[in-house]
């Protein structure tokens, strides 16, 4: 076996037989066409999104090696880059579906096959969705968001017909089937590798994939790289323009940037705002920054803390924040400003949208004078050390500004491992920064997590019965329901006025890529989708 065959993609038979051929090929700049090289900064810790402890970067395996019943469409953004399209649900493994008030019935495409050539059946779909709701942890929580909670809901009617019995009719059910979690696994392969202790084959699928997606895994060197190999039997879309994708883990952002600038990698994924700004200015590589849908970086004011119970104080803080400076210093101008909204009443249901506040220290001082805390007060301003790159400059600028209206703050840095407990579970941080973003792109879904008492991302302990009622009414309602828009507008209006969370900006997901790489697409899950890649 010639060493050169490995990356040229002709070594597939040798790979299948379990013998990895040796290879010797030139660096990416001179790599044979048909290979794309990607640098990511984090490590992939599993090939199975359902496994406990699987981290976010590993979700890309579910995206690239598996299909789902349905998928989202693709749209072209104003800057010419590609983004998934939330408003369009497309067939994936299901060729059609019919929804009634109590169930949805999917017809599975006749030609759909797994990478081993066996057909995709309704039994595989049932086994996979059963697995997604049964293993617990994050997958179960995500499935629940789409009202997909118990195995009894999933019925394999015949080989090619699959039915979901609904607990309730919800607009979130179909979109939730298009997120990475409900991926369809080859149940024959999985069951062959399951044991009595491990009926869901978590050990096997942790290290192997068994899907029908665009790629299979040619090699996984934990802590170093993943090599995707094109699945020639893929039926859910046009075959990728590359035979292989090498995803290399490069922890240092500086190194990553040097690699893409030198042309040794085709794509540096998830680069910092500062590099995005500078690389875009230089123009040697294409920089794509896509605003992350349904995500806002904001200041949280905890209503368990006396001064922040006072709406006047909260509004004073909202007027005191130096938005413009923060956007320049912490986001390097990358993202969408969330301040300076035109009116106290939202014009439409778009979310996130700019709040009607901008920096006005006099106004802030007046509001403080009208509040019960005329003399000012002292508090701690907490930030997450894992996100210090934007939280630290933001906190320092806000600290300086708040001092002008009599609020003295000390910056409290909390290690990443403790942040969730302090901010989201115990909800004990009086003043803090928060970065929640929802996968399902509806305002009511955001409000459900972030503005309802007791819900996880409501780190402000905000409690408003009207908001709770409106969220309850809109969460499962279809968006074309005549009641939907007025109710959501009312929600946003309350958020504008009450400001338990003060939005700063909507962040970008940045990627820098060689000019000859085509097919980069933004997804809400913020992980690499290589299914449309081609290298010119």
């Amino acid at each position: 076996m010639d060493r050169r065959t490995f990356l040229k993609g002709t070594g597939a038979t040798a790979l299948a037989s379990g013998m990895l051929p040796m290879l010797k090929v030139l660096p990416a700049s001179a790599a044979p066409s048909g290979v794309a090289v990607v640098a990511i900064s984090q490590t992939i810790n599993s090939l199975d999104i359902h496994r406990k402890g699987t981290n976010r970067p590993s979700y890309q395996i579910a995206v690239n090696c598996y299909d789902r019943l349905v998928s989202f469409g693709t749209k072209t953004m104003p800057d010419g880059s590609l983004s998934y399209d939330y408003s369009v649900i497309e067939p994936d493994l299901a060729e059609s579906w019919e929804a009634t008030d109590s169930s949805i019935t999917f017809k599975i495409r006749d030609n759909a096959v797994f990478s081993d050539g066996s057909p995709v059946t309704a039994g595989d779909v049932k086994w996979s969705l059963d697995r997604a709701v049964s293993l617990g942890g994050f997958p179960a929580v995500q499935m629940k968001a789409g009202s997909l909670e118990k195995p009894e809901q999933f019925v394999a009617v015949d080989d090619k017909t699959f039915r979901i019995d609904l607990i309730r009719k919800s607009k979130l059910t179909i979109p939730d089937l298009a997120v990475p979690v409900p991926m369809i696994i080859n149940s024959k392969v999985a069951k062959a590798n399951a044991t009595a202790d491990d009926p869901w084959a978590t050990e096997y699928l942790h290290r192997n994939t068994a899907g029908s997606g665009a790629y299979t895994i040619a090699r996984w060197d934990p802590g170093q790289q993943i090599v995707y190999q094109q699945n020639e039997k893929w039926t859910s879309g046009p075959l990728p323009g590359v035979k292989r994708v090498v995803v290399r883990e490069v922890p240092s952002q500086a190194t990553s940037r040097a690699l893409v600038e030198r042309g040794d990698v085709h794509l540096a994924f998830g680069i910092p705002d500062k590099d995005a700004q500078e690389l875009a200015a230089k123009g040697d590589v294409t920089v794509v920054g896509t605003p992350i849908e349904n995500c806002v970086y904001c200041v949280g004011l905890n209503l368990n803390f006396d001064p922040f119970k006072d709406k006047k104080v909260r509004q004073a803080v909202a007027y005191a924040i130096p938005y413009e400076e923060i956007f320049k210093a912490a986001a390097f101008g990358q993202g969408v400003p969330m301040w300076g909204g035109a009116s106290a009443k939202p014009a439409d249901v778009s979310w996130p949208q700019p709040f009607p506040y901008s920096t006005d220290i006099d106004r802030a001082k007046d509001l403080m004078a009208e509040s019960a805390f005329k003399g000012g007060f002292k508090t701690e301003f907490s930030i997450n050390l894992s996100l210090a790159s934007w939280m630290e400059p933001t906190a320092l600028l806000i600290q300086e500004s708040l001092a002008k209206i009599g609020i003295e703050t000390t910056v409290d840095k909390i290690p990443g491992a403790n942040w969730r407990t302090a901010a989201l579970v115990e909800k004990r941080l009086p003043l803090h920064l928060e970065n929640f973003g929802g996968w399902l792109n509806y305002p009511d879904y955001y409000f459900f997590w972030a503005y309802v008492k007791g819900h996880l991302f409501n780190s402000s302990n905000y409690d408003n019965p009207e908001v709770a009622k409106l969220v309850d009414e809109t969460l499962h309602m279809q968006t074309d329901d005549p009641d939907y828009a007025p109710k959501v507008k009312r929600l946003i209006e309350i958020a504008f006025d009450d400001v338990p969370r003060i939005p700063l900006w909507q962040p970008n997901l940045n990627a820098a890529m060689a000019k000859n790489l085509e097919g980069y697409e933004y997804w809400f899950h913020r992980q690499l989708d290589a299914t449309k890649f081609s290298v010119g």
Partner: protein
Amino acid sequence: MKPFARLRMVLGRIGQALPALFGVIVVTFILTRALPGDPAVYFAGPAADEASIQQIREALGLDRPLYEQFVYYLGDLASGDLGVSISTGQPVLEELARRLPASLELTLGALLLSLAVAIPMGVLAATNPGRPIDHICRVIATAGVSLPTFFTGIALVFVFYYLLGWSPAPIGRLDFAYLSPPPITGFYTVDALLDGDPETAVAAAGQLLLPMITLALFTLAPIARMTRGAMLQALGSDFIRTAKAAGLSQRVILIRYAFRNAMLPVITTLGMVFSFTLGANVLVEKVFAWPGIGSFAVDALVVSDYAAVQGFVLTMAMLFVLLNLLIDITYTLIDPRIEAND
């Protein structure tokens, strides 16, 4: 020293190390548990609810009382099972077996390079005290130790990779285009040569060069300073004066008498520098995407990944024990007096 006596010394040393190792096991176990942060919460992910966190806690065995966890841990250790690292998803033993050689290859390479530069430098400085060459050596050593390694690393990458393009892409032990050689020693350069594949060996050596220089610059100072000091002391001692009076050549005095005597403290320093560098080159590993043991340990520590931290500390402790033993044995080879006192 007779071979039998030396064997007894080695066994004695290993025997002495056992209580220390047990102490390390206990202390690491307690310290990792005392860390703030709840691994179950962390690994459940941000959107998890109470029930899913509890499931993870049970899966990790963290719902059991501490002493029970400890007994389980000891049992697993006895059967050679170090547990599974939750942050990397791999068995700790596998991780260590893969990453330790990477770190060792880098550290050993750096130390050899460092020795090759620092010892002549120290000797030169000692034989010309107060002269310009002494000052130059001092400046180089001080600069090397004062520049943080991540800075030296990034500066080297910037110049030799980004600007000049002489160095291969800093993406780990091998360019993505090569496959790792079949593991024998775990050192890619050595394994590739054993496999009869000079091309891969050269590629691996190329990847090794910049991080090696970065680390060598950092370890240069203590070795050079120690060599200089020890040489000065040796050169000022009575037996050298006698040797000079006896009319021995400058070369013989310097190498056979002064240098051999000066090596003892240098080797002690070397042992310290080695063990320090092995675990502490996290920043170099990050800059060069080197899959080493230091970044594994730090990443594990940040997320309270107990099994990984414990495995790392235990391995390092065993390594220290072995290293000290090795140094002691080297002493007896170099210094005849130790044998006499034994």
